[in-house]
């Protein structure tokens, strides 16, 4: 789906992403993990085509992102940025309807089909009852659901999420992750919590703007790599009730 070829990114003389290459496969959930400032958000922006790579290129289904019009990218790929806020007293339904933007034009005005998509995603994310609420009155978890709904209203084939569980309580963290897991689409998600990240199909681990490792969680979440990247010791706890080992840090 996405092919990252020798991509690097520099801003004002500072390297934010060192040259790296990898593929995002169709239907997989790829987790991006790494300490704060390791380049996860910069990499996501490159994958979303929002920033141009300094070197190399990002291919979206075989085509260079830089050659594609923004609208065409937005019909295939949705990006939920971290803590996107607004001062506008926008209603939830209006915020979700923004997701239809790439499908609308003067010749293709708002139609029943667009309304249908919006109703569907609001139902899918259980926010249909919040339709008339004003954005500022929502809880953090509700706001994150609205962001997800807006992204899904784009009907993307690929969904990029930048720390969607940040600043949420544990109940909302799990609820959002379960919702994301249940989406039958290709996902790249930056995550903070390594145990939560272990639920992804594959993980890309970043440190100091370098890609350190990429592979299945049990291949890359090893005590050695975690020590090298995060500087903490790890113990794997195996529990018969869990399908995967639990990481304990000390």
């Amino acid at each position: 789906m996405i092919s990252v070829q020798n991509v690097s990114y520099r801003l004002r003389g500072k390297t934010l992403v060192n040259p790296l290459s990898f593929e995002v496969k169709k239907g997989e959930m790829l987790g991006l993990i790494g300490p704060n400032g390791s380049g996860k958000s910069s990499l996501l922006r490159l994958l979303a085509g929002i920033t141009r790579p300094s070197t190399g290129q990002v291919l979206l289904k075989g085509q260079a992102m830089t050659d594609l019009p923004r609208e065409s990218i937005a019909r295939q790929l949705a990006f939920v940025t971290q803590q996107a806020e607004t001062h506008e007293r926008i209603r939830v339904r209006d915020a979700v309807e923004l997701g239809r933007t790439p499908w609308l034009s003067l010749l293709n005005p708002w139609s029943d089909q667009d309304q249908h998509v919006v109703d569907l995603v609001m139902h899918q994310l259980s926010i249909q009852h919040l339709g008339d609420r004003i954005w500022q009155t929502l809880s953090g978890g509700e706001q994150q659901r609205v962001h997800l709904a807006r992204a899904l209203a784009q009907q993307p084939e690929i969904l990029l999420l930048d720390e969607p569980t940040n600043h949420l309580d544990i109940q909302n963290q799990l609820a959002i992750l379960q919702l994301v897991e249940a989406l039958n689409t290709t996902i790249v998600v930056a995550l903070h919590d390594l145990n939560q990240a272990a639920r992804c199909d594959r993980l890309a681990i970043m440190k100091s703007s370098h890609l350190i490792a990429i592979g299945k969680p049990d291949e890359v979440l090893t005590p050695d790599i975690i020590w090298q990247v995060f500087g903490v010791k790890t113990k794997m706890i195996h529990d018969t009730e869990l399908q995967r080992p639990l990481l304990h840090f000390f």
């Binding site: 923004r70 996107a84 806020e85 607004t86 209603r91 209006d94 933007t101 790439p102």
Partner: protein, 344 residues
């Protein structure tokens, strides 16, 4: 489901149409008031007869002096006030959306000050004389000041403070040019114009103001959906398929040219672009497809009313219209600030 869809879109449609009709139905009587009120009062009957003679070709007998004052002086003035009010309010909506800051408008960001300085440079100092018109000078001044303010805000992250610095700098430049180049009498006239003054405008000015306001409004409406997409920031707009850099550039040029043309005619008028968008949002919500036309109409009504007030507050004298908009706008702005603080 179909009923639901119908209900939803119908209610939004009705709300939008209502907002638009209310503003439009206030605008016409306001213009009629504006042509009636002045040093010499003109009756409604004379207004009707003059309009009819001019527009429908009837031959009612009217006092020629009254008809002349009404048509040549007051109506042209009211039309230009409409265009200015609409253009400044639309510029305010655009800037507030693009910069995601409800406290900005062309005046706060120094665009008006830049336009004034540009116009003064052409009219008084004679820079580019013969090639540059006052409006073109104002446009270049507006772009220059806005460019400086944006560059400064990029470094400091403080758009409003950058705007204040820009506005002060360009006001000072205007004052410097006027003091150096004009005699005392002319300087007084220019200072009066800088505060916002509709006294000198005629139909010739309207033929520039009308197309600029209409084209600016049309371009803004074309980008209404893009402006909606900026609700959650530029990155979010980009991820919704908006070519952010291009849209920003076009809308900034539109704002600068609308502001420049209006400032070159009537001087810099504050608070219209700041307060009107808030009032319009309060009435019709945040969707730009309806927010822009309603803001334009409200801005037009506000400026025509302010012009009427400017003629009657002090008998025998005309106040600069910028003084009236500030006297009304500043308390309204304070209310917005207080409301914003309470909502936080």
């Amino acid at each position: 489901m179909t009923t639901l869809i119908l209900n939803k879109s119908t209610s939004l449609f009705i709300r939008s149409i209502k907002g638009f009709l209310v503003s439009a139905s206030i605008l016409l009587p306001t213009i009629i008031l504006a042509v009636m009120i002045g040093e010499s009062a003109i009756s409604l009957e004379t207004v009707y007869k003059t309009f009819s003679n001019k527009l429908l070709g009837t031959t009612y007998l009217v006092d020629l002096i009254d008809a002349g004052i009404l048509w040549e002086y007051r109506l042209s003035r009211a039309v230009i006030a409409c265009c200015c009010g609409a253009a400044l309010a639309v510029s305010g909506v655009i800037l507030q959306s693009l910069l995601r800051n409800v406290l900005v408008d062309p005046y706060i960001l120094g665009i008006s000050a830049g336009a004034s300085a540009g116009a003064v440079a052409v009219a008084i100092v004679g820079i580019g004389a013969g090639i540059l018109s006052m409006s073109a000078g104002a446009f270049l001044g507006a772009l220059l000041s806005f460019g400086l303010v944006l560059a400064l805000s990029r470094v400091t992250g403080q758009i409003i403070l950058a705007g204040i610095a820009g506005a002060q700098l360009f006001h000072a430049l205007s004052a410097l040019m006027i003091t150096k180049s004009a005699n005392a009498e002319a300087a007084r006239g220019i200072m009066f114009w800088l505060l916002g003054n509709l006294s000198g405008v005629r139909w010739d000015d309207a033929w520039l103001a009308i197309p600029v306001a209409v084209i600016g409004m049309t371009v803004a409406l074309y980008y209404a959906r893009a402006l909606d997409a900026f609700t959650f920031g530029a990155e979010s707009a980009a991820s919704l398929g908006i070519p952010v850099a291009r849209v920003r550039l076009i809308l900034i040029l539109v704002t600068a040219s609308m502001t420049a043309v209006m400032v070159s005619m009537v001087g810099s008028i504050g608070f219209v672009g700041l307060v009107i968008p808030h009032a319009a949002r309060f009435l019709v919500g945040v969707r730009h497809s309806i927010l822009l036309p309603v803001s334009a109409l409200m801005g037009a009504v506000f400026l025509v009313m302010s012009d009427i007030l400017s003629r009657i507050v002090v008998s025998g004298q005309v106040l600069p219209i910028g003084v009236v908009t500030a006297l009304i706008g500043a308390p309204a702005f304070a209310l917005i600030l207080i409301r914003g603080a309470r909502n936080r």
